[in-house]
Structure formats: structure tokens, C-alpha cells
């Protein structure tokens, strides 16, 4: 099982994401944003950070990189893709996920341990959880406020596309406390909080985040 982790100029959490992949029992494969080479991986993680310094809009320039174009094409045929924080912003900018991430409503960078309610436990990245389970993972962002037109939010809710929702306080003013969403087929997931920072007792507030990475192993085997 080989899971790619993309590095962009300005990525910060690619090493942590690769570590989480390894702890889950898969082989992490480093991918470079500027190359048209997915190296035959079984799934892809877009990590957190500040790709291209968040110039223009967070994730906007990274979303037009050669490798992300390949990821978009592969996701259309079922490749599991996880976007964390800046990676979520990239997936929204690339059109793989609906909505957009904008400046936090209070204008502060917010860094804390965050409760999340798992509302979908049947996506490629969340099958290790139980629907209705609450998990705690770190959140850290300045532009993490999830927004979309009201009609689009209604449609997403109606289709059950909200994967995780903030509980115990909304850290950034996201519409309807939405922390993460999925594609219609449940193969692409994006979220602002950082499951890859909650995979070991020594360094995380919990090990709750590991489930994202173990889930995809089952999804790939089943495919």
C-alpha cells in the first residue's frame, strides 16, 4: 500500500503526514508538485502549510500546479484524496471539493485542540470511525472559515457531504460549523483540522487522527 504525500513550495506538514501514513501501516511516497508523476500511488494526501506563501488566495496557485492537475483527473476515476488545511484549500481551489476557505471571522490565527463530530463514517478516509463519534485533533489556521452560497450549503447538507463538524466552539467562523466535506463519491475528503498531528500520545492531544490514515487502507483494499 503506497500513499503519496505532495510537497509544494511552502508545505509544512508533509513530513508529519508521511509519518502518519507510516504509523497507519502504509508506505509514504514523496510527490513533487511540479512533476507530472503520481508514481503509481494508491491514494494521495495534500498536506498543510502555506503553499506559494498563500499568495493570491490560499491554495490558489498550488491548485494550478502540474501534479494537482493529475490528481484532479485521477480523483475523477476514484483515487482517494485527502486535503488537510492548506491541502483542503487547494482541493477547493482545484474544484474537487465545493466551497472556499476564507479569512477567519475574528481575523486571528487560531491554534488549539479541537473537538470534531464525525458525521460520515463511510468515506474512503473516515471508515475507521463510528458515525456520531467525537474526536479531538489540533486545528491551526488563519484562513479556515468555510463558506459557500446558502443554497450550496443546503445542497451539501441534503446530500450528507459534511464529514466532520466543529463541536465545543467554532474556531474560525465556518458556516454551519463545517470542518470538512467530501466529494459526491466519498473518495475525496478535505478538512481544516490536522489529523496527522494526533497520531501519537507523545506529541498529540490524542491518537484520534490516525483513523483517517487507517481508513484509506481499507478503502484501497476494497476497491
Amino acid at each position: 500500500m503506497r500513499i503519496g504525500v505532495i510537497t509544494f513550495p511552502g508545505s509544512l506538514d508533509d513530513v508529519d503526514a508521511a509519518r502518519a501514513v507510516r504509523l497507519a501501516g502504509a508506505e509514504p511516497v514523496s510527490l513533487w508538485h511540479g512533476e507530472h508523476d503520481l508514481k503509481g500511488v494508491d491514494a494521495v494526501v495534500l498536506p498543510g502549510g502555506f503553499s506559494y506563501g498563500d499568495y493570491l488566495r490560499a491554495g490558489a496557485i498550488a491548485a494550478r500546479s502540474p501534479l494537482v492537475q493529475d490528481v484532479v483527473a485521477a480523483a475523477r476515476t476514484g483515487l482517494p484524496v485527502l486535503g488537510i488545511c492548506n491541502g483542503f484549500q487547494v482541493l477547493c481551489e482545484a474544484g474537487l471539493l465545493p466551497g472556499a476557505l476564507t479569512r477567519n471571522s475574528h481575523l486571528h490565527f487560531r491554534n488549539r485542540d479541537q473537538g470534531l463530530l464525525v458525521e460520515r463514517a463511510d468515506t474512503a478516509w473516515t471508515s475507521s470511525y463510528a458515525q456520531g463519534q467525537t474526536i479531538v485533533v489540533p486545528v491551526k489556521n488563519g484562513e479556515g472559515r468555510y463558506v459557500a452560497a446558502d443554497a450550496d450549503l443546503d445542497r451539501l447538507e441534503g446530500e450528507g457531504r459534511v464529514v466532520v463538524r466543529y463541536v465545543g466552539g467554532n474556531p474560525n467562523g465556518s458556516s454551519r460549523d463545517i470542518a470538512g466535506v467530501t466529494s459526491a463519491d466519498g473518495r475525496v475528503v478535505g478538512l481544516m483540522p490536522h489529523p496527522e498531528h494526533a497520531v501519537e500520545e507523545l506529541t498529540g492531544p490524542s491518537t484520534d487522527g490516525l483513523g483517517f490514515f487507517t481508513s484509506v487502507l481499507a478503502a484501497v483494499v476494497a476497491a
Binding site: 493570491l56 481551489e93 465545493p98 479569512r103 471571522s105 475574528h106 481575523l107 463558506v147
Partner: protein
């Protein structure tokens, strides 16, 4: 060289906390007459030859602005 200007601003239904912070500062400075501030981006493009409106509109709508949250205005050179 022709200059093309693109203005991008958040859609009215998307709240703009940066604009609200500017509005708050204006109030503290005594400018009570300003009712609202919306902050946006202003792009100035030098283009070679005759500007291609179709191409420029595509640039504005697919890269310079995110149509999910932003409105965009394209200003072609007038002579």
C-alpha cells in the same frame, strides 16, 4: 503597452472581516459617515498587442478571482 485592470471583491453575501476591521478603525478616527467597507484586490496587467477580451476574461474568472466567493470586473483599455 496596453494596460488591463482587474478588480476582485468578495460577493455581497460573503462576510468580509478585514473590511469590517477597517470600518471599525474609521469609526475610531471619527469618520462616522462611512457605512461599510469591502476590501478587494486590484490587478494591473501589461499585455502585448491588442488585448484579447475572451482570454483576459478567462484569466480574471479562473485564476485572479474565485467565482465561488468573489465577483470580478475586467477593465479593458479605452482610447
Amino acid at each position: 503597452m496596453p494596460v488591463v485592470v482587474v478588480d476582485v471583491v468578495l460577493k455581497p453575501e460573503i462576510s468580509d472581516p478585514q473590511g469590517q476591521a477597517v470600518l471599525g478603525a474609521l469609526g475610531r478616527l471619527g469618520h462616522a459617515g462611512v457605512r461599510s467597507v469591502r476590501q478587494g484586490k486590484h490587478f494591473v496587467l501589461d499585455v502585448e498587442g491588442e488585448p484579447d477580451e475572451v482570454e483576459l476574461r478567462q484569466i480574471a474568472e479562473t485564476l485572479l478571482a474565485n467565482p465561488v466567493i468573489e465577483d470580478v470586473e475586467l477593465h479593458l483599455p479605452t482610447d
